[in-house]
């Protein structure tokens, strides 16, 4: 448990250092993600302890953005009267994005000869 957390935080720290050193617009944790991914693919196996911590963090990913999303209370005056439009935009956009991704894959698998 502890070892997994240390690995993740070290990569997070490394990502932050790289992000700052290059004054990169890509967030530090994403650079940490890429660095960890490269090392996992390189070594071809995942430390079981890291595995445990990573799956519990990703299983409760939703909890982690509650504090930020609750900040919506300070935007209520601004959001008032726009809720319906925002809802429609999000609905249409997610349907279009999902349909596009799915249809590209469908088309490719149709044109590709059966294996």
């Amino acid at each position: 448990m502890l070892k997994g957390l240390i690995i993740l935080m070290l990569y997070q720290g490394a990502g932050e250092i790289v992000a700052r050193a290059l004054s990169s617009p890509v967030p530090g944790p994403v650079i940490g993600l890429i660095l960890l991914l490269v090392s996992l693919l390189w070594r071809q196996k995942t430390d079981p302890d890291l595995q445990v911590v990573a799956s519990s963090l990703t299983a409760h990913l939703g909890l982690l953005f509650v504090p930020a999303a609750v900040g919506v209370v300070s935007f209520l005056p601004l959001l008032k009267g726009h809720m319906l439009s925002i809802g429609i935009v999000l609905l249409v956009s997610v349907l279009l994005a999902m349909a596009t991704t799915a249809l590209v894959l469908k088309r490719r698998s149709v044109t590709k000869p059966a294996e």
Partner: protein, 242 residues
């Protein structure tokens, strides 16, 4: 014993915000499970509404709440790094399919940005409500980082991202059936690209292959978004502002 004094102490301590957030989320998870994991009952949406409701009811300023809740918030960065693990594990599924999945990801990402920003400006939404749309199909922890780096509200980005995930999880099965998609891997990937984490947990509930591809789609969209949006985003914002 003065109850008021105890309350003043408690509400000033991080403990109150932490308990409130964790309990609200637990209530959400419980409701989700007892409703047969229906996508209509989303634990994150319930947790946000409950917590926000309590803050409004007891008249606690958001800044004071966040002082305590920041300890949960901090773990977002760590959880972002942890996304490398499911991507690495799904990597063998991608072999030989990089070209088609990459193309599908880019097309899906572009459609997501163009349709949301375009429609939002068409509806005449104020600029500060349009710009958080840019990253809304990217998984929330990464999306917030991207927005923050561009000077866009991370809060609204998180709210849009959560709503997008919830809407995607509710509609995915109907939409993909209507499109005649039979391949679980393609279905999962599309859900992960469009509706990130919340879509992914829905995909796992439907089929393990769909879940695996969904987490890979979400992870790759997160990385691609973090690499490209900071380049394209400011240009879009400038264009909208004129």
């Amino acid at each position: 014993m003065d109850l008021r004094e105890i309350w003043v102490y408690l509400s000033g301590s991080p403990l109150f915000s932490l308990i409130l957030t964790l309990v609200a989320y637990q209530v959400g998870v419980f409701a989700h499970q007892s409703m047969g994991r229906s996508p209509l009952v989303n634990p994150v949406a319930i947790a946000v509404l409950l917590t926000a409701g309590v803050l409004l009811a007891i008249d606690m300023p958001y800044a004071q709440y966040f002082e305590g809740a920041q300890f949960i918030h901090f773990l977002l960065g760590t959880a972002t790094v942890a996304l490398a693990v499911p991507i690495a594990q799904g990597w063998h599924l991608l072999k030989g399919r990089f070209a088609e999945l990459g193309l599908a990801l880019i097309m899906g990402g572009v459609v997501s940005v163009v349709s949301s920003v375009g429609l939002a400006s068409l509806f005449g939404l104020p600029l500060e409500l349009v710009t958080p749309m840019l990253a809304k199909s990217v998984t929330a922890p990464i999306a917030m980082g991207i927005s923050e780096s561009m000077g866009i509200s991370p809060t609204l980005t998180a709210v849009y991202a959560v709503s997008t995930g919830v809407i995607g999880a509710i509609t995915a099965t109907h939409l993909l059936n209507a499109l005649g998609m039979k391949d679980w891997t393609a279905r999962g990937f599309a859900v992960g690209v469009a509706a990130h984490g919340i879509g992914t947990s829905r995909a796992f509930a439907v089929h393990p292959d769909a879940g695996a591809f969904s987490s890979v789609g979400m992870g790759l969209h997160g990385v691609l978004g973090a690499l490209l949006l900071p380049l394209v985003g400011p240009w879009v914002v400038k264009f909208l502002a004129t």
